[in-house]
């Protein structure tokens, strides 16, 4: 009765419900049996088209750096309960994997991968100090994941290299899964119209 109109406790229950799913995922990962092999994309030729693609990759890498910092800092805030923290750590691991693939591709193409900013900069830019509860953190993370999924999907058309376009589809769908779980946990709604990302 009391929590009927409380989106945060609703959210918490929802995340605990999804906790079972996350635990199953964790089990798989710890068995060392990921669903998909890590992407083996490469970039060889260097052209002006390639320069453009490197630019897109650099932006994506900067975005992953920011996401990693957000999860790391919010994860260490003490605001998250064990079940939620476990899920957050799985997502953090995905973002670290994304970072590694992107940085490797940039280096192989002759670029210098962008470095992360300082934690102080991320805390200020993302207003992380304003997060006061688990519900706040979950909503905040959902927002970042939605932005990331859209950034990936929205830049596929700018890529010249089809293998990179495939990588961006993989990156975008990872973020979309993160968003879906977090949005559900936060008690968020889902649009009726198709094409949730673009």
């Amino acid at each position: 009765m009391t929590d009927t109109f409380d989106p945060i406790s609703l959210g918490r229950r929802a995340l605990f419900r999804t906790g079972g799913m996350a635990a199953a995922g964790l089990g798989l990962a710890s068995l060392g049996a990921p669903l998909m092999a890590a992407p083996k994309h490469t970039m060889h030729k260097k052209s002006s088209a390639m320069e453009g693609d490197i630019g897109v990759l650099q932006g994506a890498l900067a975005l992953e750096h920011e996401g990693i910092a957000a999860y790391r800092i919010a994860g260490g805030s003490g605001l998250l309960s064990k079940g939620v923290l476990d899920v957050a750590l799985v997502f953090l691991g995905h973002h670290q994997g994304h970072r590694d693939s992107l940085a490797k591709l940039i280096s192989e193409a002759g670029g210098k991968p962008v470095e992360p900013k300082s934690d102080a900069e991320y805390i200020k830019a993302l207003n992380i100090a304003s997060l006061k509860s688990e519900g706040d953190v979950v909503k905040f993370a959902a927002g970042l994941e939605q932005g990331a999924a859209n950034a990936y999907v929205g830049q596929v058309a700018a890529l010249q290299d089809h293998q990179l376009a495939h990588l961006f589809a993989q990156l975008g769908t990872d973020e979309a899964v993160h968003w879906a779980i977090l949005n559900n946990a936060a008690g968020g709604s889902i649009a009726k119209a198709p094409y949730l990302f673009g």
Binding site: E51, G52, G55, V56, Q58, G59, A62, L63, E66, K124, A125, L126, N127, G143, L144, Q146, G147, A148, A149, N150, A151, G154, Q155, A157, A158, F197, G198
Partner: protein, 132 residues
Amino acid sequence: MRRHVNAHARTAIGAVLATCLLVLAIPVQAAGDAAAGQALYQAKCGGCHSLEANRIGPAHRGVVGRKIASAPGFAYSPAIRKLTGIWTTARLDQWLQGPQKMAPGSKMYLNVPDQTQRANIIAWLAANPAKR
């Protein structure tokens, strides 16, 4: 529901505006829906931008009417720094149709092909002027 009301209101305003235009022959750009623009902004731009802070892209508060590539502390590309003048709603509309067309080599690659979405996002940006 609110959508409908807004759509009707827009149509009515549009009709009035069209009449004014015929009478005065002053070009006025159809205004977007800032509330819809806020949600679109969060979803499509929020991975890289926010109003108040430089992130992957520059801070957006007050961007309408601001000199291009002038957010303090943001490391812009040489490509966008070559553009002169200020961001008008028309130039923002052009930017969102293809930053690489407007400033080849820019660090922004995302396009918003849908005209209504662009108008709504720009309306949201215009609704957030610089703080005094």
